[in-house]
Amino acid sequence: MLDKVIFYFFAGIAVGGAVLTVTRRNAVHSAIFLITSLLATAGIFLQLRAEFLFIVQIILYVGGIMVLFVFVIMLVNLDVAVRQIQFARQKWVALVIALALAAQVGLMLWSSAKMPGQGLPVLTAAPANQLPLNSEEVAKSLFDSYLLPFEIASVLLLVAMIGAVVMAKKRT
């Protein structure tokens, strides 16, 4: 029971935060609500006993990426952007596509409720002390099974960093 309440609590904040992110005019307010939404997602991770993902979401996504977002928002002059019409000319197309997606997902959920075992798989949570430690599982998979993709991702990040530094140097 408590699990359900906590889940709906986090999920509600996540969805609400997302909605507020796209509807605010002030860019900094949008960023704040995006942070709220990300924190709620981290909470859902924690509920799924994925504590490493939870803390990495906070450190990297909220504490790193969002900080840089906010930096850029504050350094760049956004007066021009605010005065432009938001959601220009895309309203109706976006609405149609969103309704189509919602219909698909709704159909999936309804059919799996109707036909148990043939729709989406139903997972039950294992007791916490029987689960392997999340950090160690992630580490094992990163350095064991997925070592090559991990290294490739690191090289990609390094390339991106070098590119950013080169582009940021002033031409003197």
Binding site: M1, L2, K4, V5, I6, N26, V28, H29, I32, I35, E51, F52, F54, I55, V56, I58, I59, V62, G63, G64, M66, V67, V70, F71, M74, L75, L133, N134, S135
Partner: protein, 457 residues
């Protein structure tokens, strides 16, 4: 409302203890932070050949209460063009992040609000990183150019030194093998020595990075008074400012606790697993007796009757604390049946004492550095972080990893592991000196290419 109340009951049944502890800490921490400020002012005064606050209460001991009252009754000034939501939110974020990260720390083997978190240290570090938003949004909300610049500089500094601090922690964690706070301290007990001996370069890197993380001198340019006023805190007055202040001192306590847990042995006494040094268990009560004796000796020198009684009261308090601390060492001798029942309680008291002693020493080091060293200019600060600390910490992780592999290969345990880690530390030291020497070569000079005509005008 059945499910809601049922869920609440379930929640309370599971988590009443941490909730209560958390509430207690949140209620008490402002007072503690206030007294840390008083201690800082007294230490500052001592280093500056003066006395510090003496008027409010005996020896200025009621100064924090007076300051708190003043801050609370001050008018809440909000700049006209400030963003109200963000203006309210910024100090709350700072304080919230700082207080929440306190929850993951273990002051003794028994005192931990959020018990047994798998990702203990990572949790503390990650949540305290959220405090950056409090600074950035605070600078933004003031709608003043100087505040914004100060805020952006401060947060750039924090983000830069976070990497170095994290890498330094990783070096220490390589020895611990786990992120769980209690397990880290237990690992140090098993190892027989604190991790600072095994990874001194990591400790030093974490020390410097944590000074920058908490915006303390010599890295306090963003909030210095002689620079463009007070940076991101300029427009906040009264209670909001005190929230920022509280966040800063709580952050200091948090980084000191993290360093103590990972490097200084947490709540272990020095040489915790060496049996013949067990007499060191007597150090806490003897220390408190020494302090009490000093207070008694100073009684005749007090100027007034009231202050003499006050000194005697302080001495009495110290002696009482000494008795409490002496019980764990004396009781086992007296009554064997009591021993097992009271063991965790006693371990908690002694553990708490050692932990607080180490945290205090770390914070004293912070204060000492603040009053001795001038301030780094911002570009020098960033240069130090990116060009020196981050390379050094990464090199150190590599070297410590190599040392650990060598240790495992040669089956070195306990003190023998030093054979592997000391060369690693020396190589890291040499690397540090080389980086510093290379830095000296390439110091930025201001471009004097801009000519000016002396005889104009």
């Amino acid at each position: 409302m059945q499910p809601a109340s049922q869920a609440t009951l379930e929640f309370l049944k599971l988590y009443w203890a941490p909730l209560l502890c958390g509430l207690a800490v949140v209620a008490v921490l402002p007072l503690i932070a206030g007294y840390v400020v008083l201690v800082e002012r007294k230490i500052m005064a001592d280093m500056q050949a003066r006395l510090g606050p003496m008027r409010v209460g005996p020896h200025g001991l009621l100064q924090p209460i007076a300051d708190a009252v003043k801050l609370l009754i001050k008018e809440d000034v909000i700049p006209d063009s400030a963003d109200k939501l963000v203006f309210w939110l910024a100090p709350v974020l700072s304080v919230g992040a700082a207080l929440l990260s306190l929850a993951g720390l273990a002051i003794g083997p028994a005192f931990q609000i959020a018990q047994d978190i798998n990702i203990g240290i990572l949790f503390v570090v990650g949540i305290s990183a959220m405090g950056i938003f409090g600074i950035v949004l605070g600078g933004w909300a003031s709608n003043s150019h100087y505040s914004l610049m100060g805020a952006l500089r401060s947060s750039a500094q924090l983000v830069s030194y976070e990497t170095a601090a994290g890498m330094a922690l990783v070096s220490g964690l390589l020895f611990a093998g786990t992120l769980n706070i209690k397990s880290i301290v237990e690992a140090q007990r098993e190892q027989g020595m604190w991790f600072v001996i095994l990874a001194p370069v990591a400790f030093f890197t974490y020390l410097v990075a944590s000074i920058a993380e908490t915006n303390r001198a010599p890295f306090d340019l963003p909030e210095a008074e002689s620079e463009l006023v007070a940076g991101y805190m300029t427009e906040f007055s009264g209670f909001r400012w005190s929230l920022y202040f509280l966040a800063e001192y709580t952050n200091m306590i948090v980084v000191a606790s993290v360093a103590t847990t990972l490097f200084l042995g947490g709540w272990l006494r020095p040489f915790a697993s060496v049996r013949w040094l067990d007499f060191l268990d007597f150090v806490p009560p003897l220390l408190m007796i020494a302090v009490g004796a000093y207070c008694v000796l100073r009684v005749p020198k007090q100027p007034s009757r009231m202050q003499q009684w006050f000194m005697l009261a302080v001495a009495g308090l110290c002696i009482a604390l000494a008795l409490v601390l002496a019980m764990p060492v004396i009781a086992p001798v007296l009554k064997a049946s009591l021993r097992e029942a009271a063991k965790p309680f006693f371990a908690g008291i002694h553990g708490g004492f050692w932990f607080l002693l180490k945290v205090s020493a770390y914070i004293y080091l912070f204060m000492w550095l603040r009053f001795t060293l001038p301030r780094y200019r911002f570009d020098q600060l960033m240069r130090l972080g990116w060009h020196f600390l981050i390379p050094l910490s990464i090199i150190n992780v590599l070297l410590v990893g190599v040392a650990m592999i060598a240790g495992a290969y040669f089956h070195l345990h306990g003190w023998w592991l030093l054979l592997a880690t000391t060369p690693a530390a020396l190589v890291a030291l040499v690397a540090a000196l080389l980086i510093l020497a290379a830095e000296k070569q390439s110091e930025t000079r201001p471009d004097r290419a801009v000519p000016s005509d002396f005889y104009a005008g």
